[in-house]
Symmetry: C2
Subunit: 142 residues, 2 copies
DNA sequence: ATGTATGCAAAACATTTGCACCTGG
DNA sequence: CCAGGTGCAAATGTTTTGCATACAT
């Protein structure tokens, strides 16, 4: 449970940390901003400060509990680390995020890093496109 | 020349636009932030406002003259659009940016977009790693 | 001339930090 | 009890905007 995950990360189990981790585990939203987390907790009737949300998410990131992504917006989005690396494809109109894994791409990336004289650490591949979801404001555009 | 490129983009040819585009074309630095451009122009003795740099770079981006990247820092970097798509590999210690193109990856990306029900528009792949450059502060770390 | 572009200062954002108070172990 | 965590407000760094002035055509 969240309780154990926090302890394992070497962090004290406090109310804010527990609430945030539980929200990430239970929410249907996999990719959320700090503001999102803050708002969702307030709406759920919890008391929390936005600064704490940022601090906790950063600690979780350092501990490897969550991953931080930047996507080409002006803010960070966080997602629970489920242990399995994956990349993202995002609709530039509705912001819908889908995940995928592609072995061929993974292999090519290692190859390129080696050719360029880099030790590969982390990488992130994001494809931007227009999704065909009927709810997507996509249709307003050409 | 820069003159024509600006006109072709449907923009009036003004001194700030010309200075900025020339700087991008002539500078050895391919990936620069708005601040970088601002500072470089001031150092070159030109008069310009930071707000103008941001406005012009945004217009250039819209016009397709430059590309804006986010990389996992807190600011945007711009690069002249040389017409040839490419991806980036970045050292997380010294910030060195290398460019590459990989047909295999390009093909896989189209395939994935199709599978996920997206029309691929733009995409960006960034690999983060540690470079082996002797000047890289890399060596201070494990 | 005249609509657009610029520069400055102020605003807007997302995120971080200082500090007095509270809390978990 | 006490190191560490929290909330608030203020600071930060980047990017945007309002407005009076200056410029390109």
């Amino acid at each position: 449970m969240a309780d154990q995950d926090i302890r394992k990360a070497g962090l004290k189990v406090t109310v804010p940390r527990l609430k945030i981790l539980e929200l990430l585990e239970k929410s249907g939203e996999r990719h959320v901003s700090a503001e999102d987390v803050y708002r969702m907790l307030l709406e759920a009737g919890d008391e929390i400060g936005l600064a704490t949300v940022y601090r906790v998410l950063t600690q979780f990131e350092t501990a490897g509990l969550v991953e931080r992504h930047h996507f080409e917006d002006g803010y960070s989005v966080f997602e629970l680390n489920r242990g399995q690396h994956h990349d993202h494809i995002i609709c530039i109109f509705c912001g819908r995020v889908e995940e995928f894994i592609d072995e061929t791409i993974e292999r090519q990336q290692s190859k390129i890093a080696q050719e360029k004289g880099f030790e590969i650490g982390d990488h992130s591949l994001t494809i931007y496109g227009r999704c065909k979801d009927p709810d997507c404001p996509n249709r307003d555009k050409t």
